[in-house]
């Protein structure tokens, strides 16, 4: 059962820690093979390979921006997803996103811009050199992980479109296609999913247009082929499988804020001082850890982003 074909290119493109874990996996995989051969029962702990899969992306630069923390295993990052377009259970997206066609894919950039753009995914991948950024990822449900995203700063794309002086927000819209996204057949949320950032948030150097994970092409369940990552905000702010970016003047309606205005603010900034009615936000459980740890304001990225919110009521910053 050759589940993986290690090759040299991968070891170059994969962070060393993961590469070393891959070797560990090779050993475990061998043990698993022996185990499976000698026992009637599969050994589930070994059966699920924690082995990054998919097309390898050319990564020009790597930056650890999670304080040296070990990334959450590939298997957890790709099987524990909130992506209601594919079902509301965390395990649904990994099981039901297989039908998402991410090639060809076009992104429309329009609204208050001087240069409306229509870009194919292949062009988008060549807009800027791809970088790996290891970021903390904090969900509003008080769990978190550490993820090595691959992508490039969204600022580059924003500049290319040349927003007009009227543009103050940028709205991201997820694909609407119930045939590919079975979750959209029920009106659980208002489809298509829309999220938005203020322009200054969108061009902050931390804001990433992510196209990959662990050096590989982004898996469908993680928002393929392109999604937004704003590491100082709760996960719901990062729209997935984006087909349209529209620049607007007025603060737009965003999916969760429409769904439950008292629970989800426009900003969605990680803020341990403002509790969600269902979850206290003071602590979070990092996937793979037993004890909860303290949640940091702006998810620990305050030095980079707190300036964006000077003068705003901190109680409104959620």
């Amino acid at each position: 059962m050759p589940r993986f074909k290690p090759d040299l290119r991968e070891s170059e493109a994969t962070p060393e820690g993961i590469y070393l874990r891959r070797r560990e996996f090779l050993r475990l995989g061998a043990a698993g093979a022996i185990g499976a051969a000698t026992s009637a029962f599969p050994i589930p702990a070994l059966a699920g390979p924690d082995d990054p899969a998919g097309e390898v992306l050319p990564v020009a630069r790597k930056a650890d921006m999670a304080g040296g923390e070990k990334p959450t295993p590939w298997k957890s990052v790709t099987t524990y997803n909130n992506f209601y377009e594919f079902g509301t259970d965390k395990a649904d997206p990994a099981q039901r996103a297989g039908g998402l066609r991410t090639r060809p894919w076009t992104l429309a950039v329009d609204g208050e811009v001087k240069r409306p753009l229509t870009l194919g995914i292949e062009e988008i991948l060549k807009l800027s050199p791809l970088e790996e950024r290891v970021y903390r990822f904090r969900c509003v449900e008080a769990w978190s992980m550490v993820v090595p995203w691959v992508g490039f700063p969204l600022a580059g794309l924003v500049k290319r479109a040349e927003p007009t002086s009227r543009a103050r927000f940028v709205v991201f819209q997820t694909l609407l296609d119930p045939a590919q996204m079975p979750g959209q057949r029920s009106r659980i949320l208002e489809w298509p999913y829309t999220e938005a950032l203020r322009i200054d948030e969108a061009v902050n150097p931390l804001t990433l247009l992510a196209v990959g994970l662990y050096g590989r092409v982004l898996p469908a369940q993680n928002g393929a082929p392109l999604r937004v990552i704003t590491p100082w905000k709760y996960g719901f702010k990062g729209a997935k499988s984006i087909v349209r970016m529209r620049f607007v003047e007025e603060q737009p309606r965003t999916t969760w804020a429409v769904m439950a205005p008292t629970e989800y603010g426009f900003y969605g900034n990680v803020n341990p001082a403002v509790d969600h009615p269902r979850w206290s936000q003071g602590k979070e459980r990092r996937l793979g850890e037993f004890l909860r740890r303290d949640t940091l304001p702006f998810n620990g990225y305050g030095a980079e982003v707190a300036g964006l919110y000077a003068g705003l009521d901190p109680r409104k910053l959620y």
Binding site: A45, L189, M259, P277, R278, S280, G282
Partner: protein, 199 residues
């Protein structure tokens, strides 16, 4: 009647716990095992709560006697799951973080309601014995045990407030409880008629 019925029922009702243990040992609980167990315990609590309401109408409408023999086992097991669900929240999910727990139980409506449901079930579990039935007298015992309807309603609200957007499962349980309640109406009507005739 068959002596194996109750032990067999208890064994079956403990299967979800066994499955959780197996999954915990084999990585089958997913990326967030604590959340998975918390939710599974909650899910089985509400399932057992619904099942404990089945024997009475099954006896009245279908004339089945054996489900009635399981009524107590079902009710007590429902409470046991509720208690485990609560203790898991305190001791594992929150790991005895008392400040957070006390804030949760006084400020977070979904948890207040769940806790209220647990408080409703506790006296029912305590008074589930023959001794308590005798001590209270059937009339008062029955009145007290009507608390189970309140517990069911609170459980549904707890479930509904826990989910973020997808109300389908809480609504399903609301429907199940409503149906189980409706099935009791013929029995009540009959009892009321009998009462009038006897008066």
């Amino acid at each position: 009647m068959k002596r194996w019925l109750k032990p067999a029922a208890v064994a079956v009702l403990l299967l979800p716990i066994g499955k959780m243990g197996w999954d915990a040992a084999t990585g089958g609980l997913g990326a967030n095992p604590v959340e998975a167990v918390q939710n599974r315990l909650g899910f089985w609590t509400i399932v057992l709560l619904a099942l404990s309401l089945v024997p009475t109408p099954a006896g009245e409408l279908l004339g089945l006697a054996w489900p009635q023999r399981l009524r107590r086992v079902l009710g007590v097991t429902a409470f046991a799951y509720a208690l485990l669900h609560f203790l898991f929240y305190v001791g594992v999910d929150k790991f005895f973080d008392w400040p957070t727990i006390s804030r949760d139980l006084t400020r977070r409506p979904f948890l207040m309601v769940g806790f209220a449901a647990l408080l409703c079930l506790a006296p029912l579990a305590v008074t589930s014995t023959d001794g308590w039935l005798r001590r209270l007298g059937y009339r008062r015992w029955k009145l007290l045990h009507r608390l189970v309807y309140l517990a069911a309603a609170l459980a549904v609200v707890h479930f509904a407030w826990r989910v973020k957007a997808d109300m389908r499962r809480p609504l399903l349980f609301a429907g199940i409880f409503a149906a189980l309640l409706a099935l009791r109406i013929p029995g009540w009507v009959r009892a009321a008629r009998r009462g009038r005739r006897n008066a």
